[in-house]
Subunit: 386 residues, 4 copies
């Protein structure tokens, strides 16, 4: 059985580790609405423990600063006014140092609480809080990439480029027979409410790719005029590329006659045999149409996932983010976690190179609006079987 | 077997009948981007026959006016530049009289063509053109309602208010067992490509309401503070009601201490036992949550539809508009009909009081963005069975 | 002495004459916020007489329609809610026929009133109303040009192109000595409050052009890259041309390798020796800078105006629209006429080819925001004398 | 004669002094487009010396970082691409420390250059650079106030509230006779090009207030419903207050039943006898109208300025920002300094409590758009004499 206190410490430390090479200034800015300042992530994840656990379950706990709930609440309508998302990057205070003090204040109190016998409710909330923090670690990493990758000086985050599995490039497809399949989480451990209830679906037979699409394959699409050919695109996708002058994945730069990309090691020549990342659902879908194929549904993905390697790219599926049969939103603020986002977003499956260890599983459902691509979003193809 | 020439004539006449009581000025305006000017509908449906049939299949046909394709193309990217949707209401020319001349020019040519033996291709295109026109008849009716219902003089469209079936108010629910069900069109007649392919799904057991939600039931939700309680709303729905100051269905007006609504007979006191109309998906979904229930999926609706009366309100489902398994977009401009809209929209099932006769069937899939409500959109509830 | 009843009749008829060749549909649309639908002008000018005169001064007068004040009020805050300007083009009702009925109802009542002895107050209000209507005649003509000139069918307004004075092209400059000059209206007749009070200014010596800039001269500026050279432009002008992709005057079209323009006779080749029209203040100012000169101030223009021909183009001056010394806003709604617009606008002097006869004088001050150019705005240059 | 090297050192140090109590994070953010991050001001003023002087006039000078010109150019179109103003707050790099290194690199080089005999051109450019820096010091102080004053924690900038002159509250007016007056700079020292040429104007007689409007006087306007009475406002001012929900000066807060304001010492009760600050031109103009008076013109202000105390508030005038007769824009990038802003802005005269010493004179012309109020903008009244 895992020791919760140890788990708490290691997860919390990991957030700080991700920020280890940042300058103070990097913690503060918010270049687009979807990105949050790193210091906000550090504060918000601490606020979660303070608000949902310490305030109610640790006798004598004193709120670190009564203004912080206003600053660090993200979207919990139940819990009063909050700094609107587009304003987060306007806040110079609290300072980074103060945010770290806040974290350590919360950590000391949590350490104290977890050293005592705790109720099942507290245990569940603590585990939720850690999973919540792990979700923010993924965002923290991608937000930092966005902040540095959109700075005209293109600062380096680490010396080494993203390590990748080096899986062999393959065009092989796996065939899955039609039949009844069970979908959703069914183990003992933690899962989010959107992975429940486990339920049965019927799937027609299909094929799904063993490998992810590479930069080189995507470049073929670009060279073939993929961004100019309306027949591959959703109408809204076409508007999106026209309005935003988009003609390549995010972070790609055409320099001196060849494609480069910004990675954590700075700007460097594009590696053709690396898995593609940073495309929107619109781009993923258009690429699949160009190939004469399609994206897998989230059910197909889950059913087939034991038969391919995954975990480097969040993979767009062709499924809209909707509740499973029998899904019930929890009461109170905790119930705002997932259900209220179940409209206008597409499901991603898998995990990415910046997903925390142990924070992925076949039933995990991530979701983003179709135009977003600052996550490490990639493409796996599927096909019908006639 | 239906006579295509007669069918053509009756469908085309129906479009003009819908406009019979309009003033010339009513044909011209476009109060919001989603509404098109009536004269544009009349021209666009004629353009469809000219562009896809007459130009290619009637020897010696001469284009009525070479500028019209630019004006009356709606969204077919394959077919060149078009007047963007927000500009349609800026166009005083062609005049209403010229648009009717255009219609009659096209009608004469189609009559000539359909008097001769025609190929199967032409026959299919003509039937598609008529179904396309019937879709626009629905929009024509709701766009006219919007134009008149948003005029400060609140003009009357007809003397008589919308006729309704007078179905008895019922809170009864039908129970459907779990099992394998076939979904999609499977008859000989016409259907749209989005109703294909017919395929099997597995559905858990569920209950679905026999009746539609009434104005009176919705008023209860309003009186209980439904628009103020965030817990019933999607996050985007909450933004939508706040940004647009929405606190009732479209066309409802609070006058002298009681609710009224605008109908085709003008502004009149709200009828409590009439089926609710003109709510967005966000509102439908929030109402269902307030009831402790949910909207049916489009599959549930289709499976159960033989057991309740429908056809007065387009009914929001909880399903996102996505392709069926095996769906393939047709090549060329005709292929732009449905597939490119399959993102960010929700499916509606049923039909409405302004749907043309013979233009509804259990497999019919309508779709709109979740914030739209100028169609006669209503609510039917569903429940899980534990 | 002028007969007011005759004057009333001839001014009111002139508004209808301007619309004589319009189709009903042309009366309805509002392609941009600055343009008003012609039927709105016809209604608003009638509303002015009804609201400020008939209601108060004609015993037994009955309001034509109690909803019309809401529809036809333009901007008089004192007089209650009004249809916001961007909504005017959404209104199909009242119909054109109803607006004409409204006009004739007002005209009959005014005719009745003016057949009796009237007070000096009524006389002044009637004269103000007629001058108000003449101002709207200018707008009516330019709004019609905008509506037809932005229609993809480019309808013809009249058979004959705008008649012009045919003044001989001249590059001659007039020299005005330094000295004290009196500015503002000083006669017996009507003037607007913004032309008062007459007051003294001291002007340094200057030169001012006898002729207006022609299309051909402006074309030289364009050929020299004038729209690309930032040094001639205000910072806000540069933003304006970049944001709106502007590289020529309004109504100019590059067709088959040469410049054309839209005039009331339709699209035709640009006439090089005609006075330039339809440029913004930014363009006028940039052109003058390119010439190494400047625009005259409104005082310089007024002082020199007896020495050159004017009246075909509204001429941009380098003066901001501000009150004259001693200017006092009148009390009540009439006081909203001019003073509240005295910020962020530039003064134009002269008159244009569509200015009503007798509606121009040397002291007349017109004014528009610097980016507007749908009036017949042109350029006259001035120079300092060292 | 001033020693330029000493002057350079003291001006440059003053910029750093202004930032002495800031946290690193305070240097980075840009809460609204009009405010720039403090580190940007520090970098931009250094870039000015590097670009216009060191690069051309110090042999062997090496550019500190070739990317900095892109980051720190403000608006000089002649000098290539620049970071658009709304993006400045997105830049975490260069860090504050790097910006200070940049400053000190430039300072060392300037010290070296100014230790040698220099040409008159260099001398003039250096003086321009110092005046430019002093202008930015004013902005630096007000931008810092905005950054801290819009933070939900309301941090304190200094312990002591703004020192004020303590001039006695007076309602006395000074009378100035009509006559010819000379306007513009006419001394030996430095002035900006917009203060030239010195020229003669004729002014009618007028009265001008000895004192500035106080918070208490403005509160009377508010209590009398000043923000609700349209008759005092420009039409654009009325739109501005309605759109932005404005009902008090910037930094005023209604807390527990009384007015407070944010000052550099934090939030504190409003001092009624202090000069009003942080109002827009629209508010200043509406207040004057409510008083039955007006704002002085910039000429009136300059002529009368020797007879009253000024220097605590920038004072709105009723004059639009336009060139003086004979004004000529300098060639090249230096010529972009003032002329291109001469449209849509209003002139302010005087100086404020954060204006650097020796950086004010009676002929000094400041200018802002009429809706801006983050400077210490105040009100002095004037009246006509009949």
């Amino acid at each position: 059985m895992i020791d919760l206190k140890d788990k708490y410490r290691s997860v919390r430390e990991r957030s700080e580790d991700i920020c280890a090479t940042l300058k103070t200034e990097d913690y503060v800015v918010q270049p687009v609405v979807d990105v949050s300042p790193p210091k906000w992530h550090l504060g918000h994840t601490s606020w979660f423990f303070e608000t949902f656990i310490l305030q109610h379950h640790l006798t004598g706990y004193s709120i670190f600063n009564p203004s912080y709930p206003f600053v660090f609440n993200s979207y919990y309508e139940s819990l009063g006014a909050r700094v609107i998302r587009t304003n987060r990057g306007n806040l110079s205070r609290p300072t980074v140092e103060e945010v770290y003090e806040y974290r350590h204040h919360v950590d000391a109190a949590m350490d104290h609480l977890l050293s005592q016998p705790i109720s099942e409710e507290v245990r569940k909330l603590a585990i939720l809080g850690l999973n919540h923090e792990e979700q923010h670690q993924e965002l923290l990493a991608t937000d930092i990439k966005y902040i540095l990758g959109h700075n005209p000086l293109f600062p380096t985050y680490t010396e080494i480029a993203n390590p990748l599995s080096g899986e062999i490039f393959t065009e092989e497809f796996i065939t899955i027979k039609d039949g009844m399949y069970d979908i959703g989480y069914d183990s003992e451990g933690f899962c989010f409410d959107n992975e429940l209830n486990r339920h049965t679906v019927f799937l027609p037979a299909f094929k799904i790719a063993k490998g992810l699409i590479t930069n080189g394959q995507y470049l073929e699409f670009m060279k073939d005029g993929g961004y100019q050919k309306h027949e591959y695109w959703h109408a809204e996708g076409l508007d999106w590329i026209k309005t935003n002058h988009i003609n390549s994945p995010l972070y790609w730069h055409w320099i001196n006659g060849r494609w480069h990309y910004y990675s954590s090691a700075g700007v460097q020549p594009l590696k053709l045999d690396e898995p593609l990342a940073h495309v929107s659902y619109y781009e993923a879908s258009a690429f699949a149409a160009w190939k004469g194929m399609r994206l897998p549904t989230e059910f197909e993905w889950e059913v087939a996932s034991s038969r391919f390697t995954w975990g480097e790219r969040w993979e767009w599926t062709g499924s809209a983010y909707l509740p499973y049969p029998g899904y019930v939103r929890a009461a109170g603020a905790i119930g705002e976690y997932n259900g209220k986002f179940m409209v206008n977003q597409m499901v991603l499956r898998g995990a990415s190179i910046v997903t925390p260890p142990e924070h992925s599983r076949p039933s995990y459902r991530n979701f983003f609006h179709p135009h977003l691509r600052w996550q490490h979003t990639g493409i796996r193809l599927a096909q019908n079987i006639n």
